[in-house]
Each structure stands twice: as C-alpha cells, then as structure tokens.
C-alpha cells in the first residue's frame, strides 16, 4: 500500500470514529436533523414556490390576512404568504450564514496558521493585529462597513466575515502551536519540508477539526448578525431574508397591530437554525477535541 493510501485509510477510520461519536450526541443529532430539514426546504423551495408568490404585484392574498386556509402563516402587506417568505428567506439567511462564516474562518485560519507557524516577531505582529481587531466592537464595525458599501447580500457577508475572524485566528494559532510541537513536524522539517509544505500538508489537516467546529459555531453567529443588520435597516432590500422580514414587520408596526404571524415565524426560524448550529458545533467540538471528549 502506498503512503498516500495509508494516510487515506487512517483518515477514513478516524472520520468513521468521529461520526460514531457524533451520532452518540443527542443534541448534535437533533441539531443536524433540524438543519437538514431546513436546508432541504431551502434548496427545494423553487420547486413548490413559484415566482408570483413572492412578487409584490402578483401575489393573490389579502393585506395582512391572518393564518387560514391557503395561508398557514397568513400574509404580509402585499398579500404574500408569510410561510413562503420564511421558506424562501432560509435561502438567503443560510447562504449569508455559511459564506460569512467561511470568509471569517478562512481569514482567521490563514492568519492563525501563519502566526503560529512563523512565531517570532511576524507571528507577534499578526497576533497584535488580531488582538486589536478583537477589541473593536463587532456590531459597530459591521454596521459601519455595511453602511460604507452598497446594499447587497455580498456586503453583509463581507461585513460579518471581516469582523468575526479574530476568534478563529486565536484558536487556530493555539492549535498550530500545539501541532508544531509534535515530533512528526520535526521529522517533516528534517526531511526538507519547506514552510509551505509544513503548513499545508501537516499543520492544516491537523487544525481543520478545530476549524470545522469553529465554523459551525460561527454560522450561528453570522445568521444572528445578518438579522441584526437587517433589523437596523442595513439589509439588501431586493432579497427576502429572515432579518429582513422581521424588519419589515417591525416597520409596518406589526407588533402593536396584533399581526403576530408576520413577526414570530422569522424569529423562530432564526432561533431554530442558530440553536441547531450551536448544538452541532458543540457536539463537533466534543468529538474532535479529545481533551473535551475525555471528560464527557
């Protein structure tokens, strides 16, 4: 068997082990199930919601119709079904959540690995910069960034991604330091592996588990942040997102008008998804971080 194949088998075994451990965590499994359900609904949404249902000018329902036949969650000001909006909103909210988490984790991983690998003054400088970013109030920064750039989903993703990375950088740096202290890195160096080789082939695969758990937790944060920015009126007006629906409900005065079906569902959806990601993240952390696992 070649070395590559060996490594592959080893990783697959480890993966199977992780999967079993994860399956044993009830919270994690519940979270995963909810996520799978919502993800599936989001993906399949175009199949059962036609464009007219989301159009402001074509929607057929009445204005602020309470839940009833045909409209399980009632309608909004334009007569659109709130259920359709919430299902459709999952697409944007999940996309923003994933991409923003990805941006921040990628940035954080890059900086964390580099800082941890090189150490010395470059690493120090990078960590100072990280510390400094961590000090900036994330919401304030995100709001300012979102205000500076044009209103779009991309802007929201960047605003969240750019403000949320310092955590990841710190965690990854700590993990990198731990990995680099292990003997096989020494071996790789002795065999002539350059910086890039060590970082990509040895450090990265070993910090990935931590990064994965971190990402999962960040998605929850990102979805909440998206809702917050939309609530502050900084969302993309052209799309339907959960935060955007809450914002619209609020500006319509839905809360004080008794139009609960406009206000409650998107909030519940946000909470459900954020909770599911958190549960999954915690379960993953427990599975992937042996020190945590031992004490469970």
């Amino acid at each position: 068997m070649s070395r590559a194949a060996l490594a592959w088998t080893r990783r697959r075994r480890a993966l199977a082990g992780y999967a079993r451990a994860f399956a044993g965590n009830r919270g994690g499994m519940a979270g995963l199930a909810v996520l799978a359900l919502i993800g599936l609904a989001a993906l399949a949404a175009p199949l059962f919601i036609d464009a007219d249902a989301l159009s402001l000018t074509e929607a057929e329902g009445g204005r602020f119709q309470p839940p009833g036949p045909g409209y399980p969650l009632g309608t909004d000001a334009f007569g659109r079904s709130v259920l359709d909006l919430v299902v459709w909103g999952a697409r944007i909210s999940l996309t923003v959540g994933f991409l923003a988490a990805f941006v921040s984790v990628a940035l954080g991983t890059l900086i964390g690995v580099v800082a941890g690998h090189f150490g010395g003054w470059p690493g120090n400088v990078l960590m100072r910069v990280t510390d400094w970013f961590a000090v900036l109030p994330a919401l304030v920064m995100a709001v300012a960034l979102a205000a500076v750039m044009t209103r779009s989903t991309l802007t929201i993703i960047i605003a969240i991604g750019v403000t949320a990375w310092p955590t990841t950088a710190r965690v990854v740096r700590a993990q990198t330091l731990a990995v680099e202290a292990r003997p096989f890195i020494e071996r790789a160096r002795a065999l002539g592996g350059g910086h890039a080789h060590v970082m990509l082939r040895h450090v990265l695969p070993n910090v990935l588990p931590v990064v994965l758990a971190q990402t999962t937790l960040l998605v929850a944060e990102a979805i909440l942040m998206e809702a917050t920015l939309a609530f502050l009126g900084l969302g993309d007006p052209g799309t339907v997102s959960w935060g955007g629906i809450i914002q619209e409900a609020r500006t319509a005065g839905a809360i004080s008008s008794g139009i609960w079906w406009y206000m409650i569902p998107p909030g519940v959806a946000i909470a459900a998804v954020a909770l599911s990601f958190t549960m999954c993240g915690r379960a993953l952390e427990g599975v992937l971080n042996p020190r945590l696992r031992e004490r469970r």
């Binding site: 159009s55 402001l56 000018t57 074509e58 204005r63 602020f64 000001a77 334009f78 007569g79 205000a147 044009t150 209103r151 710190r170 965690v171 700590a174 937790l217 944060e221 909440l224 009126g233 900084l234 007006p237 052209g238 619209e248 609020r250 500006t251 319509a252 005065g253 839905a254 809360i255 004080s256 008008s257 008794g258 139009i259 958190t278 993240g281 915690r282 952390e285 020190r291 945590l292």
Partner: protein, 616 residues
C-alpha cells in the same frame, strides 16, 4: 452583547492560594448580595398622572430649544406652544390670521410691510412684549449667522426691520416676498436674548424658558421628556390642560403599546396596520387627516449647473420626455395607496397635496398619465426603444435601460414603493437597480448628479412658495454640489410663472391659478413625479382627551399643525384620572416579583445554613 461559546479551555489548574480563593468568595458574596435587591425592584405605583396632564409620545428628541437653531419637527412644534408669531394660520382654513400682529398694511410696491403689534401681550416673566422684540429677533437673524441657522431663509430678502414704536413694526424688503404673512419665526424676548454671546451654541435651556405662547417650557430630561405648563396669562384663551408632557419614545410599536396602556394620551405617525388595529380599541380615537406631505420620486433629466455645465452620470435616455412619461404610465398609484398605505393615502395628481384645495391641481382626463403598461410599452416602441434579448429595452442611443433607483432606507413607505416600482418598471422593459440607502448616501448621489431615479417628499406649507421655488432654474447649482433643488429641473415657462405668483401677493385667486399652471408643467415634464399624498394617522385616548382641534377642520391633523391649536384647545376628559389607578395587573406583577425575590432570598439563606452545617 458578546455571545460566547465555551472558550478554549483554561489550562488544568493547580490548587490556588488562600488569597485567590478568598477573593473569589468575596466576589461571589458581593454578587449574591446585590441580586435580590436588583431583581426585587418592584414596579412603581403608577405615577401620579396629575389631573390635567396631557402626555404626548414623541419619536424624536429635541435638537435645541433655541428658536434660532431648532430644526426638528418636535422642537418647532414646541416653539409653536411657547412663543408667538407675527401671524398664525386659522385652525379651520389654514388662512393667515392675526397673531402678535393685530393687523398689517403693505406699500403699493409691496416692499414695505407695516405690522401693528398687539398691545398688552406679555412675556411669561411679566415683561411687556413689544415691536422692539420682534424687530430685534429679525435683525439678529439678518446680522448673525448663528441666529440664521434655522429660519434664515425667511429674512434673506429683508432690507431692514425697525420698531417704529412699541406697537408698530416696519419691514422693508429687497424684492416682493409672498410669505410675509407666513413668517414662521418665533419672536424671542430681547431682554433675555440680547446678552447671549454666541447664538450658534446657545440652547435656551434655562427653565422655565421665558416665552409668550400658551405654554411655558418648564423642564427637560434629555432623551426622556419635556414638560410645559399652561400660561394662564396668555392673550388668547388659556389652555385647558395644566401641563403637557412630551415623552420621547423612538419605537413606534412602543408608542402604540404605551397608548394602549394609557401611559401616553396621544401618538402620531401610526402605520396603516396600527391605525386599523387601534380603530377597534375601546377609549381610543383614531384621527385620519389628509397629509401635508407628498411622496414621489424625481427623474434625472441630466444634471447641470446654472451656466449649463453638465455633470454627474444620469442615464442619457432620461433626457427624453417620452421615456419619463412612459415610466409614469407604468406605475400604478392606486396599488401603492392600497399595498403601501393600506388605503390611508390619496393617489396624487399635482404637486401640492389635496389638503390645500386653494392650490391643489388635478390633471384633466386628456392629460392624465394613468396606469397603463400597454400604453407605456406602445409609447416606448414608437419612440424607438427596442427590447433586447433579455427583455430590457435599449434606447435609440444604444444604452440599455438599466436605471439606478435611490430610496431612503429610513422611510418604510419609500422602501415598499421602491420594491413595487422595480416590478412595475420591469413590465415595460426597464431594469431597476434598487439602491435602498441611508439618507446621507442618497443626498450625495443627488448633489453629485449620480442617480437616475431618486425618491423625495416634501412637507408643503400652507403657502407653497418654497416647494415651488426649488424647481426654478435659479435653484440649479452654481457649481456641482450646491443645489437647492432636488431635481435639476429648469423650465423657462415655469420660471416666468414663478415670478408671476411671487408678485401676486395681493391677488390670491390669480396666484392660485398661476400655481396650478406651474404644477401642470411639472406634471407634463414628468421630472418631478408625485405618487401619493399619504394620510397622517394619529390616535388619542378619548378617556383622557374629550375634544381636540384639528387643522384644517374637518379632516385635519393634530400633530405638526401650523399653530398651537391642538394642545391649547384640548379639553381634559371628565374621567381622565381613571388611567392613573394602579391596575390589578401591575399589582399582580408586583406580587410575582416580590415572591420571586423572597423565594430567592430563602433559597440562598438555606444554602448558607446548609454550608455552615457541613463544616467539619
């Protein structure tokens, strides 16, 4: 707040020093000790809503109590209550009526106005109010830049102002001015103000503020409330309520809930949904008034300076009147009235809202640009706007019709209208890039001419001079970025008519006819496009306010009147004290909180005892 996952675990720890343990223990003890005290703070007994206090929910904080500086509606509304003006507007008809000035005369050339100031009016500190005060107020605004901050535009055309004697005020103008009976300038007491050093930073916040209106400003808790007391010596009928309180509540929902709870007696700026919900509520009266504002958008006809220098990057095809008119035909104003305003609005005709029937103009059948996408498409087909492969039309000049649309993100009605426009314009082959942005960004785009469609709206005063003046060629920028207008509109006929109405101060009917002709030009050119006149939606507690004057009457509004009529006329309801009683719910809440606190205390005490017992 900072939300946190489980952090990277702290390193395994060794037993700690005694000192550390003690510190931790002390900390916990301190935290524990404060907890019940804090959670147990019971609800205050419903505060004494004095017999005749009228509480008004305000959504903005005041910017300044100085009439020279105040620009927000909340502040100018309070000045309406605390100061007098030369003239007032009739509560029923909006027509100018005597205020501080009992009467007035004009010279034949219209350049000299002589006002007779009311004898016997006094300041709230007892000093007499004379023509000298008025002259001083206007002169200071003319001479001091700081004093001109808020209302400088009223005196920009003044040559001189003098107090001939205690009751005679003479104003000399450079040019005739149509707004001489609509000088919305609070007259301030010279004997207090003459010693102020810097008007641009004097906030006039020494309470009670010396004024001459039906109420006296007596207190201000920044960002919480403003209190005014009735001025019993006011020369008109003194107010019926003893005290007015403006409570700052930025959230609209909170305002409505406070109204329901009886915490406030009046809320304004309701959303249509809120108005509908409140209509069915006991003891609450909803007041629907035809609006002073219009809502609409302008189309960039090609930004240029007064010298004709072009700038900005507006879509070139928009210089074509046919395209602009086709855009108007693609928009369903009735749909906006229904889905954006829930029916609480009027589909617009002319530029001046229907509320002002003297000046309001409606297009006749032959002129109307009614909703008809088919007709709009035909217009565009004929004018050579071919549809491209993706359904987007291309102008004869070869530019695809992709238009930017700037919408204020702080105005929910504009945001909703913007979304409707995107879909409606797509029907006639125009692709709209919806840019819903902060008002600041929007005005940047406007002033630099870098826009295609941009939302706008103005509050129209009973005298429409200002909103008409911003569309004259003279309002174009002298250099890019200095515009007074909001549309880069310039039309020779319009300008001629503007001059004509300005000079027609002594011929109200002729002036109205001219103003209508001006609106006709605006409508035909379709640069300045008015979509709706939204209703003003307000509600008050009828168990606290028995009656209140609206303006105009009938069908007028209560908040933001041109005058103090609403609050000075409001009559307390007989049972207005009823709202002050402690509700059973509040008692139940108090009980619950006390129970929880007691429970918590007992729990902690028992734990303490248990700990003590455990000691070896």
């Amino acid at each position: 707040m900072a939300r946190q996952q489980e952090p990277a675990r702290p390193p395994a720890r060794a037993p700690k020093s005694r000192a550390a343990r003690r510190t931790a223990a002390v900390l916990t003890a301190a935290l524990v000790a404060t907890a019940p005290a804090l959670t147990a703070a019971p609800p205050a007994a419903a505060e004494a809503e004095g017999a005749d206090t009228l509480t008004i929910a305000a959504s903005q904080p005041v910017d300044s109590f100085s009439p020279f500086l105040a620009q927000r509606l909340i502040s100018t509304s309070i000045h309406r209550l605390a100061y007098d003006y030369l003239t007032n507007y009739d509560p029923r008809t909006n027509e100018p009526i005597p205020g501080l000035a009992e009467s007035w005369t004009t010279s034949d050339d219209g350049l000299t106005w002589t006002y007779t100031i009311r004898d016997g009016a006094t300041w709230s500190d007892g000093e007499p109010l004379t023509a000298e005060d008025a002259a001083w107020t206007f002169t200071t605004m003319m001479e001091d830049e700081g004093a001109a901050t808020a209302n400088g535009n009223f005196v920009a055309n003044f040559e001189s102002v003098e107090a001939v004697d205690a009751t005679t005020l003479k104003i000399t103008l450079k040019e005739p001015q149509a707004t001489m009976l609509a000088l919305d300038v609070p007259i301030v007491p010279k004997h207090i103000w003459k010693d102020v050093g810097d008007y641009s930073s004097f906030d006039n916040d020494e309470f009670p503020v010396v004024g001459s209106g039906p109420f006296v400003i007596t207190g201000h808790k920044p960002n919480q409330s403003i209190t005014l007391e009735a001025n019993e010596d006011y020369w008109r009928d003194p107010p019926k309520f003893d005290r007015l309180v403006f409570r700052y509540m930025p959230e609209r929902d909170a305002q409505v809930e406070a109204l329901r709870a009886g915490e406030v007696s009046f809320v304004s700026g309701l959303t249509p949904a809120q108005a509908d919900a409140l209509k069915g509520t006991e003891n609450i009266t909803v007041n629907t008034a035809s609006g002073k504002r219009f809502q609409g958008f302008t189309i960039n006809p090609g930004a240029r300076t007064q010298d004709g220098e072009e700038f900005g990057d507006g879509h070139p095809a928009l210089e074509d009147r046919v395209l602009r008119r086709a855009i108007m035909r693609a928009i369903d104003k009735d749909e906006i009235v229904e889905s954006v305003y829930g029916g609480y609005a009027e589909a617009a005709g002319g530029y001046v809202p229907a509320r002002y029937d003297t000046y309001h103009w409606t297009p006749d059948a032959s002129q109307r640009l009614d909703f008809d996408p088919g007709a709009a498409n035909e217009m565009l087909d004929e004018a050579g706007y071919e549809r491209g492969g993706n359904g987007v039309r291309v102008s004869p000049g070869g530019d695809p019709l992709k238009l930017r649309m700037h919408v204020h993100n702080d105005r929910p009605d504009y945001v909703a209208m913007g979304k409707l426009l995107v879909e409606r314009l797509a029907d006639i082959g125009i692709e709209v890039d919806n840019r819903t942005v902060d008002p600041g960004v929007l005005s940047d785009a406007l002033y630099s001419g870098e826009y295609d469609l941009i939302f706008t709206g103005w509050t129209v005063n009973p005298d429409p001079d200002y909103v008409l003046g911003i569309h004259t060629c003279g309002a174009l920028p002298t250099e890019p970025g200095t515009m007074r207008s909001d549309a880069y509109f310039c039309d020779k006929d319009y300008d001629r008519l503007y001059e004509q109405q300005l000079a027609a101060y002594d011929d109200p009917e002729g002036r109205a006819a001219t103003v209508k002709k001006m609106q006709e030009i605006l409508y035909e050119e379709a640069v300045v496009n008015v979509l709706t006149y939204a209703d003003t939606l307000e509600a008050y507690r009828s168990d606290q306010i028995a009656s209140i004057q609206v303006q105009p009457d009938p069908g007028g509004n209560i908040w933001g009147q041109d005058g103090h009529w609403s609050w000075s006329s409001a009559v307390p309801a007989a049972d207005s004290r009823a709202g002050a009683a402690v509700s059973p719910w509040a008692l139940a809440g108090l009980g619950a909180v006390v129970l929880v606190a007691l429970g918590g205390g007992v729990y902690f005490l028992r734990r303490r005892a248990a700990t003590a017992g455990d000691r070896e």
